[in-house]
């Protein structure tokens, strides 16, 4: 005989379980239909180039003994993404894990691992669209991972030791989320699905919050691994390159091309700014409009450009704040000099 309270509890559990299924972990997996043909094609080319580069690097450098580790790391990432880190109420944080895997296996292997996860999610679970796969891989596996890793390496060099590593992963994790979301916003805007100011403001602000979870979880997990098996997190592992800058520059170039196509035309508010100036001065021609970008016709919501600027400023301020928080986190989690004997300078 079930009491009323028992029944309510069961209903609550069921509701929470179904909310979990609509999780926000897929907030960056763009489904089909949200980006148009030209965006899909461009991102597919960029993604193929990036993944091709990563595969070549991995084939060249990875010891045969570690080949199964790529597949297992992908399976690990998938399982780790399922873990609910409770935040407040019914919401929870989740790991994407690009920077974490890059810190463990190196940037090229991480790109391969993330790409694998995205492909399986697409074809097995219909998470993220098929045509949007290029965009998702470009955003999360390439820009997020390589970009985040670059920041991680710079910070590790500046602050050697476990503390530096933890702070680096936390900050780099946040950055990778934000960077990926900016590219995603650019793609949505270039497709005409959502206007750039709205896309940028919405995506970036949401992901600045989500990124905190990503950075925090990545840092905690890396520390747990470092404590259990320090050999897996140091360069002795053999998969992390001692000089990754060659490959990082190449990924950076790819990312730059993507940014140039998806973001730059919007980020420059010159066309609209100039246009309003031209109108004031009596020029009627819309000669200053960029050929690539075309803000949604007929839309003039006042104050939206202000929102973009405000978001960009908030982003910059956020970066500084998160950087400070990352340092504080590392200080609170890691004892002075802990684990330093196992670390070689990255």
């Amino acid at each position: 005989m079930r009491s009323g309270r028992d029944q309510r509890f069961r209903r609550q559990l069921k509701r929470r379980a179904s909310t979990e299924r609509l999780r926000e972990r897929i907030i960056m997996h763009i489904p089909d239909g949200f980006i148009d043909g030209k965006t899909a094609a461009t991102t597919a080319v960029l993604a193929a180039a990036g993944v091709g580069l990563a595969l070549r690097q991995v084939r060249r450098r990875l010891a045969p003994r570690r080949v199964p580790l790529l597949g297992l790391a992908a399976a690990f990432l998938f399982a780790a993404q399922m873990v609910n880190f409770p935040v407040a109420g019914g919401t929870s944080g989740h790991l994407v894990g690009g920077v974490l895997v890059a810190a463990l296996l190196g940037p090229s292997a991480a790109i391969v691992v993330l790409t694998t996860v995205l492909i399986v999610q697409c074809f097995l679970f219909a998470d993220g669209g098929v045509l949007a796969l290029g965009a998702n891989i470009f955003n999360m596996a390439i820009v997020g991972t390589a970009g985040g890793y670059a920041i991680y390496r710079v910070m590790c060099r500046a602050m050697p030791g476990t503390r530096g590593q933890v702070a680096a992963v936390a900050f780099a994790g946040w950055c990778s989320t934000v960077l990926a979301s900016i590219c995603c916003a650019g793609q949505l805007a270039w497709s005409g699905t959502v206007a750039w100011p709205v896309a940028f403001t919405a995506m970036t602000s949401v992901h600045m919050a989500i990124g905190v979870g990503e950075g925090l979880i990545s840092a905690l997990v890396l520390l747990a691994i470092q404590r259990a098996r320090p050999d897996l997190t140091s360069e002795v592992n053999g998969t992390e390159p001692s000089r990754p800058w060659g490959e990082l520059v190449r990924y950076g170039l790819l990312a730059a091309v993507g940014v140039a196509v998806f973001v730059a035309p919007f980020a420059c508010s010159w066309p609209d700014g100039l246009e309003s100036v031209a109108a004031k001065l009596g020029f009627e021609h819309k000669t200053v409009q960029s050929a690539v970008s075309a803000p949604a016709a007929g839309y003039r919501v006042p104050g939206v450009h202000w929102a973009v600027g405000a978001t960009a400023l908030a982003g910059a301020a956020g970066a500084v704040i998160v950087f400070g928080l990352a340092l504080l986190l590392a200080r609170s989690l890691v004892r002075e000099g802990e684990g330093d004997t196992h670390l070689t300078k990255p």
């Binding site: 993944v51 580790l69 690990f76 399922m82 669209g129």
Partner: protein, 204 residues
Amino acid sequence: MIDDWIGHYHRHRDSVVSRLPAAFKLGVALAMIVGTVLAPPTAVGWFAGMAMLLVFAVALGRLPLLFLLKRLAWLSPFILSVALVNALQPAARGSWLAVAMKSTICLLTIIVVSNTTPFSRILRVLKAAHVPGLLITTIALMHRYLFVLVEEAERMRRARASRTFKRQRRARWQALSTVVGQLFVRASERAERIYDAMCARGWK
């Protein structure tokens, strides 16, 4: 069961659709998705045609309706957020309906294919499409072990939870990150044993 939890319909029912060759299904799906994405919002005829084809495929494939509705519900956060966000643009309000329709059609297409085709067949098609061998191996291994690791993670989480008496968030985050960290360590060790098993049967 873990399969429902992940939302993937595992028990492939034998049906007309499941017996079709994987390459054919993927090719048709790709054509449908490309056509739908490229179609202008006014191409109602195309959307109607696709919808009918999908209804047909769902019926022939004997896919349970409730399952489909649940999977479509995954999509709603996106559509809702785009709708919300586009509400700020008076002129673009009409287009979100087109976006919703397109993405629903594309999602249903891929759901039908993925639930009537064993993943290894899909992988074979990818291999034939000249996807690099290393990537195929990695995908195959991921697919093989993802359920193993998900179950392992669940067991560890439960074991942890049974010994966690603090309800504070900080303690739970520490416990969960230890579980995830341990999962990686175990995955890494398992990878080594898999390498040994592959070598033992002659892999070079």
